[in-house]
């Protein structure tokens, strides 16, 4: 075991301080710090020269170099000459290399500590800017749809089919599970209350209306936000990182039409179908509880459901699904297109896409519900 690094200060004459370094100057051990020398210099204002003597150093690594860097910085600041002749040759060369390129003063990011009001102001400005971005993106999307209707949009049909498959057929298992269970849960909750009045049969009404009008669309929307919205953001974000989107732009191909449009179209078309399917699975879930637990006759349950669920309910549900599809696609694509150029930015984009989509779904549900209420449907 070698002796740890140590430092002895010797005063040689009135203006010279001799620093003798001994032992192993290696990272991980307890090493003397440059402040010791600084304090010595401060207590003796006459010191104009520091002579380093490293002949007794047994081992050294970056531990010695960081000490020397700190010392050198201090000496440069105080106009003290630093004599490094006595150091190991390797350490001297590395020190020279580390100081060869002067520190770029304005390259360091300014350590800004904004006051509360300033940061509040910045965030408000940021909020406005992001709202403006959202509107601009929506506007671009509408223009792209117009061009599609005019038959002038540039996108690949093959992409559209692939995306359609990814957002519909491949989502069926998870949508089945979720909507079946939601139907089941609704039936259980309703059953406990309705049994008090002997009105078990109305479980069919409860499950049917809730699923068809609202729950199927919301649950499918949330599943798709997590499953597809995040995926869209990650895809487009990675394309942004790889400059693939720049490559599209310089060819004069609008990323809006080429990338966003097929995704929006696929989800807008497939979401109502998924909702329809989720309706059936939800009603099936309610039926399982009704028939096995509440002993309602299967035909009776079916008839009650058919009587309770009107076409309006179905229409509102499917319309919601259509809107949610657009919301999920747009928020995924928007976050992807806004993505920065790093791996963590792609992760942020995916997270933010899911959050934006879910908030959008809940907000538009509220809006649709209020409008339906006013219209009396």
């Amino acid at each position: 075991m070698t002796a740890p690094g140590e430092l002895v200060l010797e005063e040689v004459g009135a203006d010279t301080l001799r620093v003798v370094l001994t032992g192993a100057w290696q990272l991980g051990g307890v090493l003397p710090v440059a402040e010791t020398v600084q304090q010595q210099c401060a207590s003796r204002p006459g010191v104009r020269q520091v002579v380093l003597d490293g002949r007794e150093i047994s081992h050294w690594d970056s531990g010695l170099l960081t000490f020397l860097m700190n010392l050198q910085k201090f000496c440069a600041r105080e106009n003290i000459r630093l004599d490094t002749e006595g150091l190991p040759a390797g350490a001297r060369r590395l020190l020279a290399l580390a100081t060869a390129v002067p520190e770029k003063k304005d390259a360091r990011q300014a350590d800004e500590r904004a006051s509360f009001l300033a940061s509040l102001g910045n965030q408000t400005v940021e909020l406005w800017r992001s709202a403006a971005d959202l509107l601009a993106f929506l506007g671009d999307a509408v223009v792209a749809v117009m061009r599609l209707l005019a038959g002038r949009a540039q996108y690949r049909r093959a992409d559209l089919w692939l995306i359609m498959q990814a957002v519909s057929a491949q989502a069926v298992p998870i949508v089945s599970l979720i909507s079946f269970l939601v139907g089941l849960i609704l039936a259980f909750i309703g059953a406990i209350q309705l049994q008090l009045f002997g009105a078990q049969i109305y479980v069919a009404d409860l499950v049917g209306i809730a699923m068809v009008r609202l729950m199927a669309a919301i649950m499918t929307g949330i599943v798709m936000a997590g499953r597809t919205g995040g995926a869209f953001a990650a895809q487009l974000g990675t394309m942004q990182v790889n400059q693939e989107i720049d490559a599209l732009k310089t060819l004069g191909i609008s990323p809006m039409e080429f990338l966003v449009l097929p995704r929006m179209l696929a989800l807008a078309l497939m979401m109502p179908l998924l909702c329809l399917y989720a309706n059936l699975m939800g009603i099936l879930g309610g039926m399982v509880v009704g028939v096995w637990l509440l002993n309602i006759d299967l035909i009776q349950y079916y008839n009650e459901t058919a009587r309770a669920v009107g076409l309006w309910n179905l229409g509102i549900g499917l319309f919601s699904g259509f809107i949610f599809g657009i919301i999920v696609a747009l928020s995924g694509c928007m976050r992807g297109m806004q993505c920065g150029r790093s791996a963590s930015a792609v992760g942020d984009a995916a997270t933010s896409a899911v959050v934006t989509a879910i908030v959008g779904i809940i907000l538009s549900t509220a809006l649709i519900t209020i409008v339906c209420n006013i219209l009396g449907i």
């Binding site: 400059q243 490559a247 732009k249 004069g252």
Partner: protein
Amino acid sequence: MTTPATHIRVENLTMAYGDYVLMRDLTFTINRGDIFIVMGGSGCGKSTLMTILIGLKAPARGKVFYGDVDFWGAEPEIRDRIIRRAGVMYQSGALWSSMTLAENVALPLETYTTLSPKQIREVVALKLALVGLAGFEEFYPSEISGGMQKRAGIARAMALDPEILFFDEPSAGLDPVSARRLDDLILELNESLGTTMVVVTHELASIFAIGSNSVFLDVSKRTMTATGNPRQLLADSKDPNLRLFLTRGEESAL
């Protein structure tokens, strides 16, 4: 020798990210048929200059002229039309990863020409063969090496027979032989097709091998300090920073 026609003229250009000014007062001319090198140390704004020239980022001040047209002062449609006559090879290739090499090269052709699918296939095969990738039509970008991706990127940039080709660090990350082959390809295309080439690079070997004109961006002075043929600059220039750069630091500041 006739005076060469101006292809791109840059006047008093300032590039900035927010308040951080990267380079100011850039003024130079790129002639038709030039192999124009944008050179300078890392972080001096070479690539940013390219993004301004190809219409991805607006300059903070100053003008870029393509021929007589004020590029950034024009309507976006006009800018689109100008840049469609240019091809760009990005640093990492930037091939569309969900499409095969053939589809990558074919997309510009499908979008802007009325060629039949058979003709497009033939053009695609030709362009890929030109960059030494014959037979790789059905490969996806992730299935080939970095050097091959760069060459495929050139094939895509050449798809529409552009008047001007931009290269962002073509030889970065390539082995010496591949880098040399890429240089030869740039020279050959320039000579046989008369395409103007704008190459952003700091590879000295490339700069002297292919450059016929250049601009040097001095990172310490935040502006350009020289423009002209790189070999001529090496012979004539007295600027210590430029000499340091062109001699790989062997000739220390005098």
